[in-house]
């Protein structure tokens, strides 16, 4: 299965390494070559430097054959743009974006983009730890 990861920050690089180790075909795109080097020499996949939602870059990453596009840059607008292009132009079966600013949740919803909201998840986990504390 081919998976494209957009954004190679902490989340993007960790995800890329784990999925590549699990045997998936991974392509990672980031506009900053430094961040791509975080993947290290052990990364068994494609690392592409370029504008994250650029047509030719996405094609180079093999978007026409991709089953998943995961957009995890720290910029919400970039995640939305990349997701819309993957979904509506390249018809990628499943597109998931990260929400950085929880206030932007509605925008993703209006534009019908599937999301992961780390802030909400983490705060929920912390809350349940506190409430689950026997003391």
């Amino acid at each position: 299965m081919n998976i494209i990861i957009i954004g190679c920050g902490r989340l993007g690089s960790t995800l890329a390494l784990e999925l590549a180790d699990a045997g998936y075909n991974i392509a990672v795109i980031d506009s900053d070559a430094k961040r791509l080097s975080a993947l290290g020499s052990g990364f068994n996949g494609l690392a592409i430097k370029g504008i994250e939602y650029d047509n030719s870059i996405l094609k180079q990453a093999g978007i026409s054959r991709a089953s998943f596009v995961i957009s995890v840059t720290p910029d919400d607008n970039l995640n939305i743009t990349a997701s819309l292009i993957a979904k509506n132009i390249f018809k990628v079966p499943r597109v998931i974006a990260k929400i950085n600013n929880p206030n932007k949740k509605d925008v993703f919803k209006v534009l019908d983009i599937e999301t992961i909201n780390p802030t909400e998840l983490i705060s929920y986990m912390i809350k349940s730890k506190i409430e689950g504390d026997p003391k």
Binding site: Y53, N55, N103, L111
Partner: protein, 228 residues
Amino acid sequence: MKSIIIGGGKIGFNLLKTLKDRGYNVTLFEIDENICRAIAEDIDSDIICGDGTSLDVLKDAGINGADIIAAVTGKDEENLVICQIAKRGFNIGKSIARINNPKNIPMFKALGVDQTVCSTEVIANLIEYEFDRDVCKIVQTFDRGAMILVEVAVKEGNKWINQYVKDLSLPSECVIVSILRDEKALFVRGDTQIKNGDNIHIITNRATVPEIKKQLHSGGAQNAKQKK
């Protein structure tokens, strides 16, 4: 007509000024507080300091009743998101996006942005046109370059001089509509002869202009054959 501008850079500022002068009801969004203040000192208009890509900010500012929205920030992804929100979230009739990188134009169009304006491309075209405007002048542009009316000045040494229009081997996507000679318009037929000093008006498109220039200077393939 109520209009909304997002982005208070040079383009946003000047657009606000122009629209205001024409009596439009305009609201400008800018995220940077200092820039907002600077604009407010210059122009008496509705300026909202906030993120133009946020639904709540747009709602509070009354985007619902707007007829037209112009996204002119320096970031293409921001402009795209704004236009998408306007269209799908608020049903605004017309959205215009500024594009900084010409490579993004086809994708913006595919995603349904009504109008795109690419400043980089416009400037590059203008400069290119300045380089050879004494030879080939664009008189009028229709539908942003899909059809243009150009005026070609025939000068000493051009291969078209003394040729009949029917003998010219022109590219298929161009029509000679008239010739201005001694301040009189000639309506061109096949047997019209081109003279030195003529101004030829041609309907064509942007892509064909370089070909026409080449023909004018080299005389085209037909002429080359005759010489042999």
